[in-house]
């Protein structure tokens, strides 16, 4: 389905979607962009939020179950209750195409058998409305180097393209269509000249991408030979081993599960899945005290190998969508493109 929507009607569309919970990028008091709930004053902008919409599909804290102990006379019973995510229809507007593509990568991990019900319920209930980047929102965008583009469609249910006074609305799934049908009167059929314009806009924004990693596939091959290289020690010298690069990454998805006690008398608690990261020392700590990834060099290596070698081997896709966040936000300037270029050219 291909339609157009006058820009001035966008708030109308949002208003019509009364049975959906709605998020879109908003600027907070401190001037940062975040995915926040719609508040009646909703405009779409091509911005990169600090945290990607992964926070909606794969929240930092997910309660899996609740447990409590009770005692009657001498008998103790432990009650365990499964907790599922709320089945709320949700829309995220203005998703960057790379972020939607990251959701498509998360699908590989969480939605293939055995299916992760917590992720899947949220994913099923969420409609992602991508907005083609015109222009790329960050100096460090490099989606085009990792088989993506500023107008990629993977993972989105609808892709919007800004044509000046209107949006070109391309619906990609049934979920997307439902969203359009909920406000039918606002849309017009797309015309051939709109289509032409979309093409031009897309080509133009591709040209505006400033960063490039040449030969990403070759990097994958090369990485296979570099596991034991002292290269990683050198590259990781300045790494702080913080969680920034992975927590803000739209495709990183490692987690930890803990039982958290709320009360002890009587015992009451919850089992929670929380984000975790390969960059933390205790991520790979065995209960024996042995840590197979004992230093930051091996952790930096893991981050890059997971994204550019292992994932490619298993799914034939890069696990990096080129959003550039980890480059922009690394406090010590570790630049994934530069490191991978060095890998590619290593020993040449």
């Amino acid at each position: 389905m291909e339609k157009t929507l006058a820009k001035k009607d966008f708030p109308q569309w949002v208003k019509k979607l009364t049975s959906w919970k709605i998020y879109l990028p908003k600027k907070d008091a401190g001037g940062r962009w975040n995915y926040a709930e719609a508040d009646g004053e909703d405009v779409l902008e091509t911005r990169q939020a600090t945290l990607p919409p992964k926070t909606i599909l794969f929240p930092q804290n997910e309660i899996l179950l609740e447990f409590s102990k009770s005692r009657k006379g001498n008998a103790e019973t432990l009650e365990v209750k499964e907790v599922l995510p709320p089945a709320e229809p949700t829309v995220v507007f203005g998703v960057r195409p790379c972020e939607a593509k990251a959701a498509w990568l998360l699908d590989e991990v969480f939605a293939s058998e055995p299916r992760d019900i917590y992720y899947w319920m949220r994913r099923e209930n969420t409609t992602l409305v991508g907005l083609a980047c015109t222009p790329p929102p960050s100096d460090n965008c490099f989606c085009t180097s990792v088989e993506g583009s500023p107008h990629a469609e993977e993972g989105s249910d609808i892709l919007l393209t800004d044509l000046g006074d209107k949006y070109y609305v391309r619906s990609l799934t049934a979920k997307g269509e439902a969203l359009i049908n909920a406000a039918k009167g606002l849309f017009e059929e797309a015309k051939p000249e709109d289509r032409k314009k979309v093409k031009a806009v897309h080509t133009e924004s591709e040209k505006k991408i400033q960063r490039e990693l040449k030969g990403a596939r070759a990097v994958s091959e090369k990485l296979k030979t570099m596991f034991d290289s002292p290269f990683w020690d050198e590259e990781a010298m300045s790494c702080l081993r913080c969680g920034i690069c992975t927590y803000i990454c739209p495709s990183c998805h490692c987690f930890d599960i803990n039982d958290e006690i709320i009360d002890t008398t009587p015992l009451r608690g919850k089992r929670v899945r929380t984000w975790d990261t390969c960059q933390f020392p205790d991520f790979t700590m065995h209960s024996s005290g042995h840590n197979p990834r004992p230093d930051k060099a091996s952790r930096l290596r893991q981050r890059l190998l997971h994204k550019f070698q292992y994932f490619v081997q298993v799914y034939d896709k890069f696990m990096c969508v080129g959003c550039g966040r980890c480059i922009t936000m690394c406090p010590v300037g570790i630049d994934i493109i530069k490191v991978l270029e060095k890998v590619r050219d290593h020993g040449a």
């Binding site: 804290n61 300045s238 990261t277 005290g289 010590v332 300037g333 530069k338």
Partner: protein
């Protein structure tokens, strides 16, 4: 602006003569920020060193890594490490010496004076540049930052772009060093705790509202901890393993370990983490501002630490990071320490 040519020559000599293991300095950064930490082992690489107002990082933090590395070397290379420090950073070295975490001989300190300027604040700079990319930043004779962009030069009085901590800095040149570049000109600071006083003056519920909103944002990436030269504990209270595990540790012992702070990034747990972090830095934080700079959510962590720096000064007349021979704040006391709050 201090020139580091003399320091570069010194660095080259040190490496040529094998007097230092390596040198920690600043080099060209990535696409995010002009400067980044640089580690130099070969004398010919010395020319990669830079010094400008974007050399914001406190490199002393890497001495913690070095200590761990040395611990694993067989036999350990006991030569000192050369390190570039600004005034604030040098105070971190003083604290590490005070706490005997390092010895004076472990470091060869290449000090640089910020003179009348300091380092720039990333957010303020981004605002000023409004999308333009900065190529170089310098300080001119009239104490203005000169920003060179592809579209030309922009001149701004330093006060407009200086990092908050620089505006409250009481050590704008190194307090300890082996060689120094730049003048020891003291920059006048009228309100060294002005930012803290602003929060203190709020009524209690507003203070709570302020901190709650800030701390709720925390995603517990622990960058604030990782960037801090004083957060050198091998095992932090927030890590999920705080139990020395041996072959004899039973499963029950492992399961029954105390969890002071839950893993969920929930408001209460975030708050306890930040209280612990702040109190552990009481009398130790030297206000290099790294925790606040690295925080991806812009949580004003300096204001927490700075509060305790202020109390140390006002309650105990204790100045952090100036005297390596002074006993640490909380491992010392005076008979007449205030106790009017005790019943």
């Amino acid at each position: 602006m201090a020139k580091i040519d003399t320091l570069k020559e010194e660095a080259r000599k040190l490496l040529q003569d094998g007097k230092v293991k390596y040198i920690i300095g600043y080099g060209a950064g990535s696409n995010g920020w002009p400067a980044a930490p640089l580690f130099i082992k070969q004398p010919e690489d010395v020319d990669k060193l830079i010094w400008d107002p974007t050399c914001i990082h406190n490199l002393v933090r890497f001495l913690v890594d070095e200590k761990r590395r040395k611990g694993k070397e067989k036999p350990p290379d006991k030569r000192p490490v050369g390190i570039f420090v600004k005034g604030c950073d040098s105070r971190a070295i003083v604290v590490l010496l005070q706490e005997k975490f390092i010895e004076r001989g472990d470091v060869y300190i290449l000090g640089i004076s910020c003179e009348k300027a300091g380092v720039v604040d990333d957010a303020k700079l981004a605002k000023k540049l409004a999308g333009k990319k900065v190529i170089t930043i310098e300080v001119d004779d009239e104490n203005r930052f000169v920003l060179t962009t592809a579209g030309g030069k922009i001149e701004v009085p330093v006060e407009e772009l200086l990092a908050e901590r620089c505006l409250e800095c009481r050590a704008n040149f190194p307090v300890i060093y082996d060689v120094l570049s730049g003048e020891k000109t003291k920059r006048a600071v009228d309100k060294p705790f002005g930012s803290v006083e602003k929060i203190e003056s709020l009524p209690v519920e507003e203070r709570w509202a302020f901190w709650k909103e800030q701390i709720d944002k925390c995603i517990r990436c622990y960058a604030c901890r990782s960037a801090c030269p004083m957060c050198y504990c091998d095992e932090c209270v927030v890590d999920s393993i705080q139990l020395a595990v041996s072959a004899d540790t039973t499963a029950d012992e492992k399961a029954g370990r105390i969890k002071w702070i839950q893993r969920s990034a929930a408001p209460s747990e975030n708050m306890i983490y930040h209280l612990v972090r702040a109190i552990h830095l009481g009398g130790r934080c030297i206000d290099c501002g790294e925790c606040e700079r690295v925080c991806p959510l812009d949580i004003p962590l300096r204001l927490l630490n700075k509060k305790l720096e202020k109390e140390a000064k006002e309650l105990f007349d204790y100045e952090v990071g100036f005297d390596p021979d002074l006993p640490a704040l909380i491992s010392s006391f005076r008979d007449d320490d205030p106790q009017d709050f005790i019943r």
